[in-house]
Amino acid sequence: MAQKNRLTEGGRIDRSKPVNFTFNGHPLQGYAGDTLASALLANGIRVVARSFKYHRPRGIMAAGVEEANALVQLETGDRTLANQQATRIELYEGLSATSINCWPGPNFDLMAINSWFHRLMPAGFYYKTFMWPVAGWKFYEHFIRRAAGLGISPREADPDQYDQMNVHCDVLIVGGGPAGLAAALAAGRSGARVILADEQAQLGGQLLNERCEINGKPALDWVTTAETELADYPDVTILRRTTTFGYYDHNFAGLLETRTAKLTDGGEHTRQRLWHVRAKRVVLATGALERPLIFSDNDRPGVMLANAARSYLTRYGVKVGSRVVVFTNNDDAYRTAIALFEGGVKIACIIDTRSAPDGELPTAALALGIELVDNSTVTGVTGGRGIKSIEVMSLNANADGVTGVPRMIDCDVVASSGGWNPVIHLHSHSGGKAKFDEARGLFIAGETLQASVCIGAANGEFQLDGCLKQGFQAGKKAASLAGLKKSSRRKLPVAETIDETPARILWALPTTKPIGERGKHFLDLQHDVTVADVQLAARDGYKTDEHTKRYTTLGMATDQGKTGNIPGMAVLAQALGVENPGDVGTTTFRPPYTPVTLGAFAGRNVGVLTDPVRMTPMHHWHELSGCTWEDVGQWKRPWYYPQTGETMQDAVNRECLAARNAVAILDASTLGKIDIQGPDAAEFLNRIYTNAWSKLAVGKCRYGLMLREDGMIFDDGVTTRIGENHFLMTTTTGNAATVLGWLEEWLQTEWPDLKVYCNSVTEAWATLSLCGPRARDLLTEFTDDIDLSAEAFPFMALREGTVGGIAARIFRISFTGESSFEVNVPASYGLALWTQLMNAGEKYGITPYGTETMHVLRAEKGYIIVGQETDGTVMPQDLGMDWILSKTKDFLGRRSFARNDSMRADRKQLVGLLPLDKQTVLEEGGQIVAENSTARPLPMIGHVTSSYFSANLERPFALALVTDGRSRMGEQVYIPMKDRNIPAEITSPVFFDPEGERLNG
């Protein structure tokens, strides 16, 4: 396939390596080293995309990150990528790309009907209409949504992986152009740990687009030498295809590395890698972006940035057209004219808004015989899907209108340059301000909050020699500030300095009619925001840059306004009569500099690695038993153990009956366990818990309640005195880490005088809780050094000895209301002991039970669960737990009991509920009303906190928090569901063994 616009020689592509690809289904060919954009241009493809709002045909307008038009959908299926800039896609064999947001294609797009109605669709038109009828927006929105959006999201899960690196360095250098490379050399020579990151596959930055010299040789030779030298420094890391997308506090930067040349596919690598870099010093050598001139119909395919035309020629050996007009307000674009001319491209003329430019570059261009049309502007463009000709007129004296006779010039490309904007995005991310350089009409970095510096073009230095000098200086200084003072005596490279004469900044360029009445002056090409839109915004009253941005959507597209924002702000300033564009608002750039993949942010924290799973020592046994799981915090806990053919209720009934009638076993290893030691441990517990601990005897257990300082219940658990100065505290499963933190906080910050140490021992122990009438029989078989009789080993006591030959602690504590033994053995013995108990217990009908049965059994006893009967608004008194509140000492939260709201008589109180039909299990979270009504709203008096069917009671029952509940015993209330109100009776919250006789059994 012929690449009709490809030069036979020149450029940095490899003509020996053809690369086949398709665009909108057409097979095409480019070369290794091409981008999709350069290959499309080489093949003479002009219309690549349609715009967002008016669906105007668009071509390639840039050669890098600033491309606003040429977005494509890359590939299809699970690896598809939306909205990719053709200028940033390295060409690979088999690439398949399609145009987006147009149908059937970019050359003929039915959605272009929008442009017929463009006069009805100025900036913000949607705020002024679509308001009738009241519910109408939903209707209009449906169509607007379908028309909007650009590319399409993948529909399948991402097959690729992403990873992250966390690194520290002395100097992070962003940008591998001349300034950045020079800085890297200087810093590298001093021995600093350096990271040099550049967004492109090749280092060199703007040098890749130029034919300039360093030290009298081609500049790229210097780049190669520099790369070779840097490769020798073990502490220098060069990251190519790596965009520094965000600059955060304290010199922390986020970098996105694309790891392979093929953008869509990680292959055997992760596709992208996100680097977290903490640098002592940051050098921002991020270069500059050219801005376009804003003239009428400046969006036609063929209008592009002057530097892009130069880049396609010099770097890719591609002629962007056959007759090129260079349109400029500055000297730099003459480089483009000269390069194109010397590359064999016909230059129709150079149009300069200035009069008689006489700098070195204009002089050189004129010497080549190129025609100059000065003091003039483009006033119109003919050709919809590609430029056919342009109309040019002279500027009037004030440059706010045109004069003379229009002249038509045939051409197919307008390469325009409105000057260069330093890339100060990263500086801005980190909290630095921008300041407007009025003389040159550009924003440069102001004061920084970080240990950073902007150099080179990013600092407004556009001379190569100056960039090199700033680079070496900055690199050396950064290394020195990072503590590396070693200096190098090598000669610095030199480059020719070409004097450039000042630009003539005009922003929106006039036509024969007022702006907006002839053609469209586009500022934001992707979002179709024009000068007229910005002027309308100013007229409508949206007078700051932020208002205008939001009202017109200027700069809100995927390119984030890299070319349009600054002209846009200047146009706004003019519309408001403000001289200095810096005065309409401070530009704030927001990360990321270029879009960053979600998957890269997530890194490896996806799938099973999303969050660690905590498993008890007996986890494997549970799994083999076929239990179902409940997630509690990070833990997996058996929920219930269904046998073949059993429903959940069947299984829970069986487990509940076994616990009350035979023996049942629970894996309680997940309960938090905190070892507390020190001479002041008892005093510490006195302050933390609501009850008193000083007199607890060694070997005895006690239930404790912890409150926050506002008096609300925070956690509960049993704590045992193991020695005079040694306690073992248990906490709820989900709260274990929080409670440990709570204890340490009070000890360290408020009571540093207390001699107490806390240590989490949750994972040191496996906890096997046996309960039921046969529990003692079973356990007796396993121990000969502990007397398990009720007399020798009473409820709420601890014994240490051996169980099954394993050193163990046995606690006689119970959460089920049954006689229980909580056996703790070192975690590594947990599975062995569990298995032995299961085997030996078979004859007693041992039954493993899960959290559901545990909940039923404890609720039958009216025992609370923190987080279920409490929700952060519940005090102990509300639960009828006044008995646990010491009257003789202070404790955390106590003072809050005396507040008005705490003393209200009508607080919600814990009660039992019995559904009257004896069959319906109430919904947990069901609300309770006093009145049997279907009216809404209906006053609520409380809610169901726990609700189960009880096999032991042979009926459903529930716990609830009800306003003034304790004085409502016997009252009938209702729990409204969608279809009916369920009647229930308020009862005591203790349903089983109210005297607690079984505990002591």
């Binding site: 409508d540 932020e546 996806v606 956690d715 705490s902």
Partner: protein, 416 residues
């Protein structure tokens, strides 16, 4: 105020849109007003609008240190809902939602209220219990509210991952079908335009530097554009509530944290509702432009920088990738930070203060946008009558002394 409509749009198209009236004037501050509202965000502008419209108080000024809607109004994820647990919250958020439902017409400004439904996901049994509690309470308060099974969720959001085997499986969800999103900027601009038409002076680039008092009564404010006097001053400065209150010698139970949000590149419609998960900190909706709008959890420390930390965003996007594995290849286009003023009970303050004539509205945490009309409506009442409305009476400053908090933290501690 000239009316906005398709007809005015067509008429103006004929002359290239050159004759539109300014949406609001830019007056210089007068020497004195009947009331001054400090803060030109949605809440402040709504307050001014309802003061003028409902209470006939039109000699008032809104003073804004930057640009209208430049604080949290322009930085949120635009979600609107009224599915709150406690009666007090349900009442005020539902008032707000009802005002939202007629707001485009009331203001003659399309705020693009899109009631596409808001889902809150449950990922464990504790979440399920809590969500059902909410769903039942909300329904009994007369507000639409349903509980959905995973299969029903899948019908509404076909791209969500409801596999029971993922780390945080989706066990159920609540849905409020009247919930949805609105265009945040339009809410501020619409209120500003309508308030201006009623005679309210909206004064931008005017920072309050002091609050003038005499004998325990407020007398005006000191600003970067001079002293402005008024017998009544309302502070509605989300993100700077403590700073402003401090100028009047008032300490608040408020802490200010960074909150980050972000949008992806635009894609064709892929998700047509709002999905929220408190447990894994992720809020997802799709804007009319096609961007996915994503919200993170708050950063862990006080800050006024409007910048958050990257790891907070990373955790949130990992959660998005877990629930929506197909979004992994989309790209974040822009992220930003706001400052959220949070109260200990996660409920706001709309209250009189110890200084006579000085009123405060703040502490909305992450949830202020959805309350905008209700907040302004009740605050206007409070300022005009020097007494709270029934709807905002519970949101007084005294509750921190009495303990009558309105705890909307949602799920509290986790279960055994």
């Amino acid at each position: 105020m000239s009316k906005y409509s398709i007809f005015s749009l067509a008429r103006n198209a004929l002359n290239f849109h050159k004759n539109w009236e300014q949406a609001w004037r830019s007056p210089d501050p007068k020497e004195s007003y009947d009331a001054i509202i400090v803060g030109g965000g949605g809440h402040g502008l709504a307050t001014a609008y309802y003061l003028a419209k409902e209470h006939g108080l039109s000699n008032i000024a809104v003073v804004e240190k930057g640009w209208l809607g430049g604080g949290n109004t322009g930085r949120n994820t635009t979600i609107i809902r009224s599915n709150y647990l406690w009666d007090e919250s349900a009442a005020i958020y539902e008032k707000a939602l009802q005002l939202y439902e007629g707001l485009s017409q009331d203001l003659n400004y399309n705020i693009m209220l899109s009631q596409r439904g808001v889902l809150n996901l449950a990922h464990n049994l504790h979440d399920v219990r809590e969500l059902k509690r909410r769903v039942n309470a909300i329904a009994l308060n007369g507000i639409d509210s349903e509980y959905l099974s995973p299969a029903q969720i899948k019908e509404i959001v076909p791209i969500i991952n409801i596999s029971p085997h993922i780390r945080y499986p989706v066990l159920g969800a609540s849905i409020q079908r009247r919930g949805g999103v609105a265009r945040h900027d339009a809410v501020a601009w619409g209120y500003a335009r309508a308030a201006d038409a009623l005679g309210v002076d909206i004064i931008q680039q005017c920072e309050v530097t002091g609050i003038l008092r005499d004998n325990g009564r407020v007398t005006g404010v000191e600003t970067t554009r001079g002293i402005i006097r008024a017998p009544k001053v309302g502070l509605v400065t989300a993100g700077h509530s403590s700073v402003l209150a401090n100028m009047a010698g008032i300490r608040l139970p408020i802490t200010s944290y960074p909150l980050q949000a972000m949008v992806t590149e635009p894609v064709k419609p892929i998700i047509n509702t709002v999905v929220m998960s408190n447990a894994v900190h992720c809020y997802v909706s799709q804007s009319d432009k096609g961007e996915l709008v994503l919200g993170a959890g708050i950063d862990g420390y006080n800050s006024y920088t409007q910048r958050g930390s990257l790891h907070v965003v990373e955790e949130q996007l990992a959660a998005v990738c877990l629930l929506f594995p197909i979004f992994s290849r989309l790209r974040i286009m822009r992220k930003w930070g706001g400052i959220v003023d949070t109260c200990p009970d996660a409920s706001p303050i709309i209250s009189k203060t110890p200084v006579d004539g000085l009123y405060i509205n703040g502490g909305w945490g992450t949830g202020g946008f959805k309350a905008t009309p209700g907040s302004g409506w009740t605050f206007a009442h409070t300022i005009a009558r020097d007494a709270p409305h029934r709807l905002n009476a519970p949101y007084n400053l005294d509750r921190f002394t009495s303990g009558a908090l309105i705890d909307e933290h949602g799920a509290a501690a986790v279960a055994h």
